[in-house]
Symmetry: C2
Subunit: 440 residues, 2 copies
């Protein structure tokens, strides 16, 4: 099947009379027009010039910045439900066994399905950690989402990749440098499979190629305690001591963190992808100290992790669950308010990706990555502007996401994928899942 | 507007070649036909006789027993988002102020909207606690859902109801006795507004009229500690001492429970409606001891509570969140497995309603309350039979619920309400919400 060719510049669009959830510095929600030219917002609020543009009547819709999912393994969508109700070590045992016999082709089929699920729930950019990332990149091209794709690196003697992981990552980064929708990066998997040389090699590669560096950190007590037993230091302290930590890094999970470790992340400008559903489902026991991290100046985004451990890829659900767990854990119903949850899912996610000036909000000059959300959906009733952010954080169903745009290009229209029909994606994915499930 | 007249007997239907999630004693999931005559299942599995029936091609669908939502205040759907990010006492302050000036007409409009949201997410029966329940009953009639409707009773000097709450409850029960879809009951609100006389009066009324009795119990630490300070006993102990507790009772929340209290509920055969999302959002702090309650023999169902505190009415989300919180709280990923979550939402709910022989599963002789779930939806991929229960518990989006039936009557067809158009429900609800939001 031919990969779709992306248009260089999307046509101008005017969204007429929408309820705009700008997520700008003042977090204003206001009714007005939004104009997009060349894939970027050129006018936000008030009345926009319709000249030369497709005019979309948006009176019944909220316009919302696209969600940014800051941690996942999208190709594992084929493995949803394969190892449920098991803790991380048992879960990984099953998953690693399946991973070892995956092919580039089933990775692409799984990535397409996961990307479809994300687009249909309003996500326009995601951060991924896996191997065969060329296949994931091609899936991004086919469906049009923004992929920030991290090639997993680990110690060469522990990998099932052919060749050395760091060399594989380098090749992947070179092949996809300066791509419109795909941003390659390097992704050391975690302290349990990466020694000092791998960590520092990954950092050097990221610095040389000026990419992000994405990794798992302090997800479970076992990980933390095993590493402390081995090295005498807990993972963030050790990573700092070896000179690894620094800016342009996103650590996933960060559940088991001391106050000192939070301060280290803040000082080194390491961002955190908070993945509450996955952490809870794997019974990691703790709750990531999101409030403390934010108070210390750590940028925190939200991640769904994979469909094998979440099992949803919906950022709407993730906002809800992130809010619920912080409130209950702290016995403080005002912890992580609705507005903050929406921030995590949008502007903070953009900050983690190093794209705060370009993504995450509806502001003039930024990329036109946005959703049209139906205000007449049952889960947004009553559709009062003062309750809109609450509805998005706590109740909106994916079905309310009517249409989704990336760089002004319509990728979902009235709940249907535009570039590849869902039924095509689905049949490819079901066929690719079969051998993974039937030969356990 | 005229209330719709319910047909006495729905036409025969054969669902052909479905994946049937029976929820029978063996919990079998199997492909086959299901036949419905006179609103009840007459054949489940294998090949059904099509004679005289409408035949529905169900090859691409799972058939699932309708969800039973065992605690809520459906008319409060108009108040979704009105008092977010506040703990229970502050939340109730706002809510009680609004409640005091509600009318029977806005209660009906709110109930219609909430019932629509429930039907569209696969819920076919719900247990409610509120006042003006005649209006809620009429909303049930209009949309066709099964309503188990509890008239809220509290001490006469504390109520905003006109007349004595117990008399109002009696009148309501008399007006709706032996109705097809509406089952009236009595609902003492909680120890903070009910004295001994009210509790025992409610019990006497329930016994006289042979109805269920539904009440709030040990939702917050404050409730428990205040009651202990006042009476010397924690709520379940005190309610047992005064002779209130007994069978045919459903206690909502039961978050702050000692082992002894769990044993009391088991001994008195009191069921529990577990409402994790609401508890977490109001930062009640604890996590209801669901595993211990079930181990002790207490029947536990799931409840969304109202849209003012959840803020969703989706039982799909509630299953997911119930599973996540039990696992994490206990550091045991196998706590409340997917199958158990589905049990809470179906057969256990039926048990709480005293209708275990009639509702909650797809078995010959039971009421044909069921959903058709799209197997080709992105959130159910891969659609493998062995993963289906996991997908329902952990990932399925409401959009996957294609059609919903109560007593064999189609109430939702291809995501649209059958009996009253959603846009009619919505416009009534938005109009009714306006004065409640604009005169705070």
């Amino acid at each position: 099947m031919l990969d779709a060719v992306l248009p260089l510049v999307a046509s101008p669009i005017v969204f007429r009379d929408a309820l705009i959830v700008t997520q700008d510095a003042s977090r204003r929600v206001e009714r007005g027009d939004v104009r997009v030219d060349g894939g970027r917002f050129t006018s936000v609020g008030g009345r926009a010039e319709p000249e030369g543009a497709e005019v979309i009547d948006a009176k019944g819709f909220a316009l919302l910045p696209g969600f940014i999912n800051t941690h996942g393994h999208v190709a594992m969508t084929l493995l949803r439900g394969i190892a449920d109700d098991r803790e991380l070590s048992g879960f990984l045992e099953t998953l690693f066994a399946v991973d070892a016999r995956r092919t580039e082709s089933d990775v692409q089929a799984g990535a397409l399905a996961g990307i479809a699920e994300m687009l249909l729930s309003g996500t326009t950019a995601f951060l991924d950690l896996y191997y065969f990332e060329d296949a994931v990149a091609r899936a991004c091209e086919r469906l049009g989402i923004r992929g920030f794709l991290g090639w997993a690196v680990l110690d060469p003697e522990l990998t099932t990749q052919s060749g050395k992981p760091l060399d594989n990552a380098r090749g992947f980064i070179d092949r996809w440098a300066r791509h419109d929708r795909v941003t390659p990066l390097v992704a050391p998997q975690g302290v349990y499979v990466c020694g000092q040389e791998t960590w520092l090699g990954a950092k050097a590669l990221a610095e040389e190629k000026r990419t992000l560096c994405h990794f798992h950190l302090s997800e479970t007590r076992k990980e933390v305690h095993d590493h402390e037993a081995k090295t005498g230091a807990r993972p963030p302290v050790w990573l700092d001591e070896i000179g690894f930590l620094g800016p342009s890094m996103v650590a996933a999970h960060a559940v088991w963190m001391s106050k000192r470790e939070v301060e280290i992340l803040a000082k080194r400008q390491v961002g955190v992808a908070h993945c509450p559903s996955s952490n809870l489902k794997l019974a990691t026991g703790g709750i990531a100290p999101v409030v403390e991290m934010r108070a210390a100046g750590v940028h925190v985004g939200l991640g769904t992790d994979s469909a094998a451990s979440n099992n949803s890829l919906s950022m709407l659900r993730e906002m809800h669950i992130a809010g619920l767990t912080q409130k209950n854990q702290r016995w403080d119903a005002s912890a992580l308010k609705a507005q903050e949850l929406l921030d995590l899912a949008t502007v903070e996610g953009a900050q983690l990706l190093g794209r705060a000036n370009d993504l995450g909000s509806i502001e003039v000059g930024k990329q036109a990555d946005l959703s049209m959300v139906r205000l007449d959906h049952p889960t947004l009733l009553p559709a009062r502007p003062e309750a809109l952010v609450s509805h998005l954080a706590y109740s909106a169903s994916e079905e309310a996401i009517d249409s989704v745009f990336v760089a002004g290009e319509c990728l979902v229209r009235h709940r249907a994928l535009v570039k590849v029909p869902w039924q095509t994606v689905r049949l490819e994915a079901e066929a690719a899942a079969r051998p993974l499930w039937e030969r356990p």
